[in-house]
């Protein structure tokens, strides 16, 4: 019995290959049943996201299976075998399980620690369950992967702190203002970056958005998008007395706001705090503005610096996460081993024989004066019953039938044979 991961991701394949291979949600049921029809395959799960397409399989004979999967891909997607082979990776057993745990914990993601992948893995698993393509092994493996991911998230900080400029800005705004619900934000210039940052902020619920753009019409269009209010560009200094968060990217060649402008604005707004994000290059706001009390000015490099620090922190935390993954892979393989037929047969026999011996002792204690001969006969009879009772399950466990794993698990549960994974 082995586990196999076949897949490609953002590191091994360019987007043109990835999009060719990727499964649409409605293609997955058919895909799962085709995969299951490959010789040797017992169970299958398909995970398909924009950054990776991976197939998780359990069955017997990895070589046969992997050839089958490659054939399947090249036939299905009409892709050159060579190109496909270059992009695909195969990971069996230990490496395969480790890979799945790392994927679930977002250690293999393009943005380390990003949270979506776990949800995507859960839906992939759900789909496999619905199509009954996942069985005893992959069920356990998927559930374990989800719990490992949760453990990584609670025990390490690999998913903490913003790693994009937009989120870094939101995080800062929250550290300055606490709640954003009563805050007004202002867009100075209607560049794409500013728009993006504003989307983040409105997503976190600022009260109002004011847009000041050199072309008034463009400003109006943008204001509509955020159900905000457009103003004439010349008015912006005046309106800034109302704005708590200012996002600036005007494309002007020089400063549009200097220190003395800002000092006046601060006086008018009774020194209430202002968070200014200047994402224009060259900068549009005099850096000296940051020296004024309760004014916090961040330019694009500052924000990038924040993102870099946070990413670095995540990388440090990822080392701890790798340890957790390693630990959990061991646990999983202990369970896999328990599924091996031989130890189960031995344990079953031992359970039966223990019962026999216990009952015999009890009986002999009760019946006094039994001769050696009688004792021997009784012992023989008891052994015969035991052997006959455990013979059919033993044969079934030794068989190479497809459902052997289920039988092993069933026997272990029915007879209370421990060694099962929690």
């Amino acid at each position: 019995m082995s586990i196999l991961v076949v897949g490609l991701n953002h590191k091994t394949a360019d987007v043109d290959v990835r999009e060719k291979i990727a499964f649409a949600a409605d293609e997955i049921p058919a895909g799962l049943s085709t995969l299951k029809s490959i010789t040797g395959v017992n169970e299958a799960v398909i995970l398909s996201t924009c950054n990776r397409v991976e197939i998780y399989l359990s069955g017997a004979g990895s070589d046969k299976i992997s050839t089958g999967v490659k054939d399947y891909f090249s036939a299905l997607r009409n892709i050159e075998r060579e190109k496909l082979e270059a992009a695909l990776y195969m990971r069996g057993d230990y490496d395969g399980v480790r890979h799945i745990f790392r994927v679930a914990s977002s250690l293999d993601s393009m943005v380390l620690g990003e949270p979506q992948i776990l949800g995507q893995l859960k839906s992939a698993f759900d789909l496999a369950l619905k199509n009954s393509s996942s069985g005893i092994i992959l069920n356990k493996l998927m559930k374990k992967a989800i719990s490992v991911a949760k453990r990584v998230r609670t025990e390490t900080k690999v998913a903490e702190n913003a790693v994009s400029i937009g989120y870094a800005a939101v995080e800062l705004a929250k550290k300055i203002f606490g709640e954003l619900a009563d805050k007004v934000s202002m867009l100075l210039g209607a560049g794409e970056m500013a728009e993006l940052a504003a989307k983040h902020l409105t997503g976190f619920g600022v009260k109002e958005v004011i847009v000041a753009n050199r072309t008034y019409e463009r400003g109006c269009a943008l204001a509509e998008e955020f159900s905000g209010r457009a103003i004439e560009f010349a008015e912006f200094k005046h309106e800034m007395t109302k704005a708590d968060i200012v996002i600036c990217s005007t494309g002007a060649p020089s400063y549009v706001l200097n220190k003395s402008d800002m000092e006046k604005i601060m006086k008018d707004r009774k020194k209430r705090s202002v968070f200014i994000i200047d994402i224009s290059v060259p900068r549009n706001i005099d850096p000296a503005v940051n020296d004024i009390d309760n004014v916090y000015l961040y330019d694009i490099d500052d924000l990038q610096g924040v993102v870099d620090t946070n990413l670095h922190e995540r990388q440090k935390e990822a080392l701890k996460a790798e340890e957790i993954v390693k630990e959990e892979v061991e646990v999983f393989f202990k369970w896999m081993q328990s599924l091996d037929a031989v130890p189960t047969i031995v344990a079953l026999r031992k359970t039966a024989e223990d019962i026999r011996d216990e009952e015999l002792t009890k009986l002999f204690n009760k019946l006094d004066g039994l001769g050696e001969k009688e004792k021997k006969s009784i012992e023989l009879m008891a052994s015969a019953i035991v052997n006959k009772l455990i013979h059919p399950p033993t044969v079934a466990l030794k068989s190479d039938d497809e459902d052997r794993d289920i039988l092993i698990a069933a026997v272990r549960r029915l007879y209370g044979i421990n060694g099962d994974m929690k």
Binding site: K174, F177, G178
Partner: protein, 270 residues
Amino acid sequence: MVIAFELALTCYFISTILGVLELVKGSKATSRGMTVFAILGFTLHTLSIVMRFIQGGHMPVANLHEAASLFAWSVVIIFFIIEIKYRVGLLGAFIMPMAFILMLSSSILPREINPLSPVLQNYWLWIHTLLAFTGDAAFAVACGTGVMYLIQEHFVKAKKLGGLFHRLPSLRVLDEVNYRLITIGFPLLTLAIISGAVWAEGVWGTFWRWDPKEVWSLITWFFYALIIHLRITAGWHGKRSAIMSVAGFVAVLFTFFGVSILLKSMHEFK
């Protein structure tokens, strides 16, 4: 009695150490441990004060040892109230060291039980003491939040957004709690001064004698009045307000310890 005091001091010390560890490393275990030892210390502390009260037969504020101990006790209780109401992360790491230092200074001061003149022993003793100590404690915790504000503000201004930045509360919360505490402390101090004057009139026949304690209380009062005034009229909040709240607490400490130790005062706990 002594043992309860000593154990409370030890608990505050452990709580302080855990608080500092929390600042540095930020694990949940240290934060929980800090709270547990703070509560344990506070319970023992309460016990030691009650026992001292029974032994002396009057409210234990007759010397500086007792007063400093009661001060520490008030700081801890105000901290608990603020913590329950606002859940200001890491506040304990700033307040418990304060409580510990107050307790430590209490522990090294002469501990004999001083008799309290019977003429002072009436309900004014209770009113004046409770008002003054809770007021001072509110200022102490305000000072703690002020320090936290200054640290966090430094991080944001200097763009050093490390681990502590993420763990400290937002500037807004710190500023709000800081001001809240000042607006709690200020009326308490006002009433403490008034009740002190009324009490003095009852005991000595005059409301006000420009005793150093009175003078310094008044200076402190003016300082906090100024903080509130500047905030309302000139928008002095945030950094300036935080600095003022720290400076204000220095005045409180001088009124409390400095006057008692350095200047000659009629006030009890000299």
